[in-house]
């Protein structure tokens, strides 16, 4: 027994120190505990004293060592050692480390129990770190509040009680009062429950807010990761293309040596190209031109294959391997970038894909090509003798319509013929030599435009494919799709072109069509007159047009939108409504959207020809484009007007406020959008890129 008591003393002393019997459960501990309960109360008292002494000596050094780190813990320990001296506490302390036999057996033998213990184990530091502040309601109150309300069944009884008041006699009054007090208590309780429920709801909202904040933070991190990935992706693609180019150059070297054996012009190696290039006219080209991924494509194919030259559309190489998606994850209205592209007002702009290639035209008579991902100018499209009024970019093809009454078609993928090193002169000569017959049968001018030997202008002139110049006045609107290009001009005609052959295939006289419609019986003559305004000198006669297959829609200065059938060359429907010149239109399979200088945007139903929707702004609309979700337009404001069709919301993309120095921000004249990637051009030559 003596030997046992000392061991027990040690165990009992340890128990409060560790406060977690599970941490050191040696089998003897509990067994001794049971043995202790067996000894009589008197023995326990005596035994307890020795235990206290042992425990005190054990606790004291232990507490000291801990004290440096946790002060209150030491206090707790001294408190416990003080309390240990009280007999009643001593009794309890003796039982402290105890486990009942069933508990012991379970904790030692059953695997599920052991598993459960491991799962529900709470480390000491967590148990100590219990904050003081209380929530507004306890979980138990919350639990009670979520239980189905038993009070509801009592509501009828309340009415009964009220009835009783009116019906009852005096002697039943006391019971009624009792009942009512009880009811009052019930109601008070109910009120309490409601307040708990209210607190629950508000705290739940707070929890959700925190979660949203966390998720937003996570989104931000992932967005940054995405941006970085896209950067690296672009870098890789660039490197791949560079390697491809090198391979192709070497192959071309070999080919040309093979084809034109003994040609003295052929540079023997790449090494002397640097000096050669710098002396040539092509040296004017900025080096960045050659770095655009889009322009380094299957050049050997187009060089060696004569047919591909004739129809560049068909052999156009596939687009970028990777698709940038970053802009889709920006908040609508976020500015992605901004470039100073021109020094004068931008007259037209377009781009192929988000972060792809953009072409801008301005009143400074230049047409520039830009890489939207890097913001670099890749070169200039030169050839027009006056400023370009309208342009369209589709993959590598660019069409420009100019005040000089000509339309030019460019294939940007041909810019690669300049790229880096190699026997480019030879290649071009080869071009002309092989293709001369085809070209001359097509159009003499075209071959001159294409032949680089003749055109000494710098820039991306090599890209020129066709020059279409049958119009006799400035070209104000163009649109192409596939091999068909349609153009509208101030000579009051529309022309349809075959891009493969480079020829005008049809001319549509708008004035003649207007006269036709006015003399057709049944057509309301007065209506046409009333909507037709006196010609606005500033407005283009043909403000805009778009075609799809055989359908052509054009908007003119008289405020009419005419739908043509290209097969018959007839106007088959006129949409009357705008009171000012139509400046922009776009249609899909159901709707036609038009913007006009009369400050309104109208959405027409193509099937019925009636107005589907319309809204207006404060200023004339100069440019508009829509996609599945929104309609973006430029309304002579420093911002882009966006109409969200999905939720019917109007908002401004951009900053309307004047600059810090009090100057007004420049007006947005042109706007283009694809897949929520919006590009706007301003009067001061700045192009802004936005997510919307």
């Amino acid at each position: 027994m003596d030997a046992q008591s000392t061991t027990a003393g040690g165990t009992v002393g340890e128990a409060p120190a560790s406060r977690n019997p599970r941490q050191g459960p040696d089998g003897g501990e509990s067994l001794i505990g049971h043995a202790l309960t067996a000894v009589s109360g008197r023995d326990v008292q005596a035994f307890g004293r020795t235990v206290t002494a042992t425990a005190a000596t054990l606790i004291q050094p232990f507490g000291d060592s801990i004290s440096a780190t946790s002060n209150h813990y030491q206090h707790a320990m001294t408190d416990i050692s003080k309390e240990l001296r009280k007999p009643s506490i001593q009794n309890r302390m003796l039982g402290f480390a105890q486990r009942t036999p069933t508990e012991l057996v379970r904790s030692k033998l059953s695997t599920t129990e052991i598993q459960h213990r491991a799962l529900t184990f709470l480390p000491e530091d967590l148990l100590r770190a219990i904050p003081d502040q209380e929530s507004q309601y306890s979980l138990f109150q919350g639990f009670q509040a979520t239980l189905p309300d038993p009070k509801k069944s009592r509501k009828p009884s309340k009415k009964d009680g009220q009835k009783q008041i009116t019906d009852s006699d005096v002697d039943s009054n006391t019971s009624v009062v009792e009942k009512l007090t009880k009811e009052r208590e019930d109601l008070a309780h109910q009120l309490e429950i409601y307040s708990v429920r209210k607190n629950m709801a508000s705290s739940e909202i707070r929890e959700i807010d925190i979660k949203i904040a966390n998720l937003n933070a996570m989104r931000h991190i992932v967005l940054e990761r995405l941006a970085k990935l896209e950067q690296e992706e672009a870098q890789l693609e660039h490197e791949i293309l560079e390697v491809d180019n090198k391979i192709e150059d070497i192959q071309e070297d070999m080919d040309s040596v093979h084809l034109e054996e003994g040609d003295s012009d052929t540079p023997s190696s790449d090494t002397n190209n640097g000096s050669f290039m710098s002396e040539s006219v092509y040296g004017k080209l900025s080096n960045s031109t050659f770095k655009n991924p889009k322009k380094h494509r299957s050049k050997s194919k187009s060089n060696t294959n004569a047919t591909s030259f004739k129809s560049p559309i068909l052999t156009r190489p596939a687009g970028r391997k990777s698709m940038p998606i970053l802009h889709e994850h920006f908040e609508p209205g976020t500015r992605i970038s901004e470039y100073q592209t021109h020094t004068d007002s931008i007259t037209s702009l377009d781009f192929d894909v988000p972060f792809g290639t953009m072409v801008t035209a301005a009143l400074d008579d230049t047409v520039r090509v830009w890489d939207l991902s890097s913001g670099r100018c890749l070169g200039m499209l030169e050839g027009h003798r006056a400023s370009v009024r309208c342009l369209q970019v589709e993959d590598n093809l660019v069409a420009t319509g100019s005040v000089d009454a000509s339309i030019r078609l460019w294939d940007l993928s041909r810019a690669e013929t300049y790229s880096g090193a190699g026997n480019h002169i030879n290649k071009k000569k080869k071009y002309n030599g092989e293709d001369a017959d085809d070209e001359e049968t097509d159009d003499g001018r075209q071959s001159s435009a294409i032949s680089t030997g003749v055109s000494s202008a710098a820039g991306l002139t090599e890209c020129a494919v066709h020059c279409l110049d049958s119009h006799v006045d400035e070209v104000t609107a163009i649109y192409f799709q596939g091999d068909t290009l349609v153009s509208g001009s101030a000579d009051k005609t529309l022309r349809q072109w075959d891009l493969e052959k480079g020829r005008c295939v049809q001319t549509l006289d708008v004035l003649w069509a207007a006269a036709q419609s006015s003399i057709v019986p049944g057509a309301d003559d007065s209506k046409w007159r009333s909507t037709g305004r006196s010609a606005d000198i500033k407005a283009d006669f043909v403000g805009t047009l778009q075609c799809f297959d055989a359908a052509l829609a054009c908007g003119t200065a008289d405020g009419l939108v005419r739908l043509w059938d290209l097969r018959s060359g007839q106007v088959h429907r006129s949409l009357v409504g705008h009171t000012g010149p139509v400046t922009c239109l776009q249609f899909d399979d159901v709707h036609l959207v038009t913007g006009s200088l009369d400050r309104s945007i109208r959405i027409w139903d193509l099937r019925t020809g009636s107005i589907f929707d319309a809204y207006g702004y404060d200023n004339p609309i100069t440019s508009m484009q829509f996609d599945a979700r929104r309609i973006v337009s430029a309304a002579q404001e420093p911002v882009v007007k966006v109409y969200d069709k999905a939720d019917g919301r109007h908002w401004d993309c951009g900053n309307k406020e004047p600059l810090e120095d009090g100057k007004e921000r420049s007006i947005v004249d042109q706007v283009r959008m694809k897949d929520g990637y919006l590009v706007e051009g301003r009067r001061d030559g700045v192009v802004g890129v936005w997510a919307c």
Partner: protein, 157 residues
């Protein structure tokens, strides 16, 4: 807290199991909220489980409460009481006492915790005595057998 009397349930509350259907409602709600389950829903289910008669359900309840304890520091103080109750229901009196004492250390006047302390003491004393009786009996038998063998050995000598 003035209303501390209402804020925590007494141990007797934990002794009355919910109906299967009621527990099913709580479970459905808990499972319905999935990964982002709210603390109240989690507690409701845990509390319903602890009230159950089935040991497995009680264990699950204690596990959920442990999760709440770990995840929501502002709920720890009450949670420690529910953990004590849960372990008490499971028969893990050492843990029950440990957790209950922690709460009593924070709130010495807590009636619920005081009553739980009494209940735990009673249980331990009763089961302890029972266990000691069994062990005692076993020891007695062992002594008798042992002495008999000893005697037999001695006789043989």
């Amino acid at each position: 807290m003035a209303s501390s009397a209402d804020r925590l349930p007494y141990a007797a509350d934990a002794e009355s199991p919910l109906k299967e259907a009621e527990l099913a409602v709580l479970r459905k709600q808990y499972e319905g909220e999935g990964q982002f389950v709210g603390v109240q829903t989690k507690f409701n289910y845990a509390w319903g489980l602890i009230k159950s008669d089935k040991r497995a359900e009680q264990q699950l309840g204690v596990r959920l409460l442990t999760d709440i304890f770990k995840d929501y520091p502002e709920r720890r103080r009450e949670c420690v009481y529910y953990l004590a109750l849960g372990h008490y229901r499971l028969g893990n009196y050492a843990e029950a006492r440990q957790y209950n004492e922690i709460l009593l250390g924070k709130e010495p006047g807590n009636l619920q915790a005081q009553s739980l302390r009494g209940l735990i003491d009673d249980k331990v004393a009763r089961e302890g005595l029972l266990g000691v009786a069994i062990i005692g009996g076993v020891a007695m038998v062992a002594t008798i057998v042992g002495s008999a063998i000893w005697k037999g050995v001695a006789k043989k000598r």
